[in-house]
Amino acid sequence: MFAYSEDSYESYDSYEVPDAVTSAYLNSAGFDASDPRIVRLISLAAQKFICDIANDALQHCKVRSSNVTTKSTKTKDRRFTLTMEDLAPALAEFGITVRKPPYYV
């Protein structure tokens, strides 16, 4: 299981999700984040959450583009673009259904 050590999360530098932003959103949820380590843990978890999804989407993208490129025989210098076509199946693996909103308000 998860082993929580006292100083493990403080030793890391700041990551993609800044702690200030995390604690601001936590405060908006009624969560009084007085301990910086807890905030760091949550921002790491959020990062990992997004990272996993994006990684899945990247695999989808690679598979799809390799299928296309084999037809067009352009194997080199591939550029990966995150699209909803790739993101939707990746999210579906995590049990999240993404639908276009019927209209923008």
């Binding site: 493990s8 990551y15 800044p18 932003v21 949820a29 969560f31 807890i38 995150l82």
Partner: protein, 266 residues
């Protein structure tokens, strides 16, 4: 929520995508991930607060957060491995904006302390400019000499200005033979017969005479009745010439004698 936080979330999602190997992203996909990140953070906060309040605490512990993450179906053990991964990029924390400076209240003058009859607990006096009155006009000068000098100066200025005005508007003579106008003189217009002006009668007001006539009745009242008759006689033959004075009649001989006697005796 704050748009600054939202922007930072977009930045962090973008940097994560770059790190994974994406080169670009659709706007809609990026927005979806940002929205998911935001709702994830809010949801973790919400449910961990619920956990800690269920346990009867006010401050959440790590256990509450982990419980909340597990409840959401999150794999907690993989966090540390994710944190230790090599080659992660960082997003700088938002720089707090400078708070507005509290404007100091302008103080004018020195505040007056309480006079002895006012108890100390009452509020202090306001700034002196709120109640002190200072006259801004000068006291008018009433000295005779100053007024006299002022009126003389005014008269002189007026004459000079009038002279200058006429010299500028009317015809001028030059004091010297040259044609320059350095010292202009008002040109005199000679009348045809030069003596005519002196011969023509003019209305003249003799203020001295009027003054005399005003004084004379006052004198009459002071003196006796007998003299009044004499004065009436004198008024009857009024002298037109202002340079002549009415004749002064000597007083009664008897009176003079008495007066002289008295002076002699004394």
């Amino acid at each position: 929520m704050n748009s600054v936080h939202r922007k930072l979330l977009v930045t962090s999602v973008s940097s994560l995508l770059l790190e994974l190997g994406f080169d670009s992203a659709e706007n809609g996909a990026l927005e979806t991930l940002t929205e998911m990140l935001q709702s994830f953070l809010t949801e973790v906060g919400n449910s961990s607060r619920a956990c800690c309040e269920l346990a009867g605490r006010t401050e959440p512990l790590v256990g509450d957060v982990i419980l909340a993450l597990v409840n959401m179906g999150f794999e907690v053990g993989a966090i540390e491995a994710h944190a230790r991964r090599p080659g992660h990029s960082t997003v700088p924390a938002p720089v707090p904006s400078n708070p507005l400076k509290q404007l100091s209240i302008l103080q004018a003058g020195v505040k007056q302390s309480h006079p002895p009859h006012i108890p100390a607990h009452l509020p202090p006096f306001p700034d002196p400019h709120a109640y002190i009155r200072t006259p801004t006009h000068k006291q008018p000068v009433t000295e005779y000499e100053a007024i006299r000098e002022k009126s003389a100066a005014q008269k002189r200025d007026l004459e000079r200005a009038l002279n200058r005005f006429i010299a500028k508007t009317g015809e001028t003579d030059s004091l010297f033979l040259s044609q320059d106008n350095i010292f202009p003189l008002i040109a005199s217009k000679p009348n045809f017969p030069p003596y005519l002006n002196a011969l023509l009668p003019k209305d003249q007001v003799f203020e001295f005479e009027e003054d005399d006539s005003n004084r004379s009745p006052q004198r009459k009242k002071k003196d006796g009745v007998k003299e009044e008759e004499e004065a009436n006689k004198a008024e009857n033959d009024i002298i037109d010439n202002p340079y002549l004075r009415p004749v002064k009649l000597p007083p009664n001989k008897l009176k003079i004698k008495g007066l002289t006697q008295c002076t002699l005796t004394t």
